[in-house]
Subunit: 148 residues, 10 copies
């Protein structure tokens, strides 16, 4: 009995979402969950509850094996090859340029520690601008100080 992986489930979800003519925002609203969280979870980065998986399964007409895979505990992290996609690469470039500055400023404002990536949320929004609308992405994580 072959096991459906979370990557296979993610591919199935992506194809089914287009077929169903639903947006990620509509799916998130149905689940009553945040937009980026929902999208990431259905792409395999978070486990979803049985109830959520069932709901998505109905919305997108997914196989039972996919519904099961969505509930599995994931190995998180995306394929490094995806970094070359231009839409994703720009975020990496921004980190390459501004990462050390962010580090200096976290230490200046908070002391020796980090922004948690676990107690953490992300949001994305459109901001209208006469020179062309802007993508605004917010990382919001709890500060954790080095504590022995």
């Amino acid at each position: 009995m072959p096991v459906t992986t979370k990557a296979e489930a993610a591919a199935a979800v992506r194809a089914a979402r287009v077929r169903a003519g639903l947006t990620w925002a509509q799916i998130a609203e149905q689940l009553g969950a945040p937009l980026v969280w929902t999208t990431a979870a259905l792409l395999g980065q978070h486990p979803v509850t049985a109830e959520q998986a069932g709901l998505v399964g109905k919305l997108l007409d997914l196989d039972e094996a996919v519904v099961t895979a969505l509930q599995d505990q994931p190995y998180r992290g995306s394929d490094p090859a995806l970094v070359s996609d231009p839409t994703i690469y720009r975020f990496h470039e921004a980190l390459s340029v501004y990462g050390p500055a962010l580090k200096e400023l976290i230490h200046e404002e908070f002391g020796d520690g980090i922004m948690s990536a676990i107690n953490f949320k992300v949001d994305i929004a459109r901001r209208a601008d006469p020179d062309g609308d802007r993508v605004v992405v917010t990382f919001d994580g709890k500060f954790l100080d080095y504590r022995w």
Copy 2:
């Protein structure tokens, strides 16, 4: 006549800032420039004007060669080895987990294109929270659509 590199200038700035007892925020205020931009620029990621370089040179008592180097056009991007620093790594981890979701949502909201990393700004702030204060980092870039 050996040339002072931007990396050497950045190291000199970091050491001089501590000796001078100044925060990055105070330096940015003196320059009248945004906080993250100023920090990144003095760490070598943006050229600064002759006037700005001179001002920083006085504030931090820098050598003339460092003041010159700050004005040089940079090769941007930080040493990949810095990714292993935990404060910087958490940003990369967040991208590894949420990058594909951000890509899906940019395409859903804006169409086929990217968030510019050139017409772009970053900000960082503290958000008070009873469970522990939070680091909030905002990426704000113009949407660019694929246009032939």
Copy 3:
């Protein structure tokens, strides 16, 4: 229901084009789209509209799954292993040799910024030359200045 990937669709298109005895130029003309854009899109680097996909499907007698895949939003970028193909490698070699010079000259002519690879087009032409005809490839992208 297995999903046809864009890579599989590209392989199908390449084989079908040969079988159909059509040139890329003929296909581009049928689509009324630029030559390099059309070729890149059918190799999986741009989504095509439903109308374009249907037209190509008829021209090349493609499966419906391939026609669907051609419309999917791509993860852009080609397999790094293809760099070793001599026809592709020469472009990379040219960038390795002339990249820093192009950077200096972009900054000299335009200031601190980049040539966009999004608001961007490529063309290829044959230029007759008594010493042997020449391949002429033109990169044409909007200048974007670093703007905070």
Copy 4:
């Protein structure tokens, strides 16, 4: 007697050019050589003649060791780390997206072979555009067919 490397000579040229307040275009004009060729050569990618080296040495007030190094036969190619500079990266991204299409079209137009990167020239120009001026880079290399 330490040997001045071409990388050290390039750094010296870059610094001296700024000090002298000369553009690359002015230097190229003085040498009577193409713009991109001149810039690349002084950055260490081509040997220059003794006469050219002497002329540049006077224009930029360079040490004799630098003038000698400019004439050395180079090991060509730039540091792969420079690829992360955004101005250079966009060219690599364009190749990643359009490389396979260019290969298809070279074979369609010319047959099995390559664009030479040796019998080859590059040019860069500004093209005015109401939506923002454009960087136009032209690669022009002799077609070489696979010939046994």
Copy 5:
């Protein structure tokens, strides 16, 4: 006759364990074997005896081919790609930060040598803490001195 690999067997065990509603601790108890050892072994890092394999096969209703694969001598070590999973990464980060210190202290306390990873056991426990419970992982390996 295709051979079931240990990786395939591990995937089958993970899926079957969830279906069976058993914890790793319950399985380990059934086998009468240590918890971390049992989990690692069923994930393919240790061979198990025919008796143990049969017992697990019954508990989890596994195919005979899986039961056979669990007894195979493994090639040990996990896919380096798993390092990017945040739960696993934190251990690597801890080694990156504290590895050289542990080396210094092993040499100080024991002399020139190593902690064996063969004559070795690992344990994991929960430690209650008013600030939030803690994960306590213990590595316990025989000291081996460099002996010629």
Copy 6:
């Protein structure tokens, strides 16, 4: 004025400690700080207070530049090349073998989350054993659950 890096300071501390005939345990006791923390900090992985740096400077007869460097905010993480040292490698091998099992068991016991490497401490001890004494290393980090 060249800046003393934390790596140079670490090398100076290692050499001075041997010359001074002091153990890491004696230094830690003098600082009133935990043993592994002290060792890691003096090897450059944590900033130490001015008072602690001064105390170490006297104990080990260090240059003022080294005393200053010990207080700098570090870029944490050790050179990946050190992984090939056998004493350090065995820890990496243990993670390669037992990492996925630890992940499974953290999720089983605590739910979806991680062991913090920031709110975290390490200890090392000798455990007498008739078959040869054992190195016991304890990782103790706060559990952090994925919390949006």
Copy 7:
């Protein structure tokens, strides 16, 4: 309709050649083509004409899909993993040892330029020697001078 790749075709050719009891030399003779060219082409490195492909198909009793694949335009270059094969590795070792010397001598004899790998042929021969016969491989490529 799955597409037969050139790698699959190469594997089919290798197996069929052994089954047919033919040498590469016999096949090359049948094709009236040079020995190394023929072998490389049938291993997927050059397209062959429809006529040649048909001839080989008959000689080796190949499937039609293989015959078609042999005519496809290849992505040239072999899997880097093959470098570890000792028979292939010795050539790489020779280049690692003698490459810079060959570069110096090409420049000394011909000026600034390269040996073409496109207008190029290779031959292999046995040379009898009382100390043991020798493998003699000749690379023969047109000199191309750097010409702007």
Copy 8:
């Protein structure tokens, strides 16, 4: 007493050769040694005898430390970064394209074994050709069969 490395000696030889206005062929003739061997040896790939080193030292007016270094037993192999030099790269490209064919043909002609890279010599020559003169490089190594 700093040790002159073979890489430093090679750089000194290259610079001195140009200053002295001697060709590699003239130096080889003076040493009575083969051309490629001599060039490779003086670039650090073979030890030379004390007599040969002294002779070269006089011809090129080298420091005694360089003369000593030329006699040292080398670690052979060149910096992998040199592969990107176009003159050297073409040899690597040829191996990437023709390596597997050469392997097939060595096995066909000689049986299971290799061309030695130790009992081995290389030669380079110019071959006049009306279409442009050609670089001819010959690898000539003893066949070694796998023999247990």
Copy 9:
């Protein structure tokens, strides 16, 4: 007709050997071939004769396709991923620690040259020792001197 690879044949041999309850030593004895050679050959590192392949096929009840694959000329070398297996890693660690010393001593005893890995054999034995039995592995290769 899919081709059975040597890797697939090796997996089949490993599984069949366990099923057949035979040791490698028993198989080697049946073949009348050395122990390490036999094991390596059946794992795909040496071609075996038709007679040997047939004999093994009968002993282990192998498919005809496997018997054929065992006779194929191999691409030698194992998957680099196997280096992380602890049993194999210790050999690599020993080379990392003792490799340069072995090089010095080969040159001291034999002159400039190498131990052949082609005219070469390996043996493995158990040596009883009151402190615990020892694995003794012997590499025995013909010395080859650098000879032009």
Copy 10:
């Protein structure tokens, strides 16, 4: 006070040994230590006692800083770049070819475990052979069984 590294000490020892006209065997005999151990230790892979370091310092007329460095606890392992030296590479090639076979045979003879690389010794010898003398290298390490 710059610290002499073990790599610098090794370079000093290598140069001094040649100047002193001593073999490694003579040095080992003076130290009363095994040949390979002595060579490896003086190349930086083992700490030597103060007495041994002093003795070597006198034999080779070494600086005091080198004598001190020889006693330092090393980070073991050699630069991976040295693998390309042919004399060292052949050992790696042998492991690549015979490593999996050695693993199978260790498990067959000893059970699940490893050959220790810590409780371990290496020897090298010349074995006369009419077909050319042979290098015989023996790895001899204690078997360690996986024991929980």
